[in-house]
Subunit: 116 residues, 2 copies
Amino acid sequence: MVKYEEQLDAIFTALAHPARRAMLAQLGKGEATVGELAQPFDMSLPAITKHLKVLERAKLISRSKNAQWRPCRLEEAPLRTASGWIEEQRKVWESRLDRLEDYLHSMEKNGERKKR
Amino acid sequence: MVKYEEQLDAIFTALAHPARRAMLAQLGKGEATVGELAQPFDMSLPAITKHLKVLERAKLISRSKNAQWRPCRLEEAPLRTASGWIEEQRKVWESRLDRLEDYLHSMEKNGERKKR
């Protein structure tokens, strides 16, 4: 449970920066080198490397160990974990709204019965 | 576009802490006062207030202005914005995998044709 919470912390932290989201969006289209990922940004290489480390810590990207140019690739599982958490919340609030609707319907019916 | 990116920054930042996620999960079940939200945590009131401010900044919660006890309530729209962004990425990588599959099938067919 603690590990799951730590994963969510790392994933949402990684998603909380426009440059990191843009890097993930680019990697969604295919593997890319650090140079290719850096290209759209007016950022120093250490800054780029720092963002990549945040993404790696969240396991949102992995880097090939074999190829000399070590391309980065997107890992989908953490994105599924993040949307899974949001989905869980949606289920809770939707079931609450359903219960509220049922309650209002039953109130309405009671009202009609009393009028007769 | 900048506003959308800023919204995503604020939402994902807000989701990147277990206490704030727990508060949102509780609010999914219904409105709650600051005292009720603070109850499960071993935290000072200023610390709780700080977390609530991060959630308010992301518009994930709102606070009633009328009632004296000013209950907090969950606002679903930012959660939909966050999962919408993740969903967009999923579409990109899935269409890439589909294209890759198509390509491999066409290679396979070419191979069979050559064998004949």
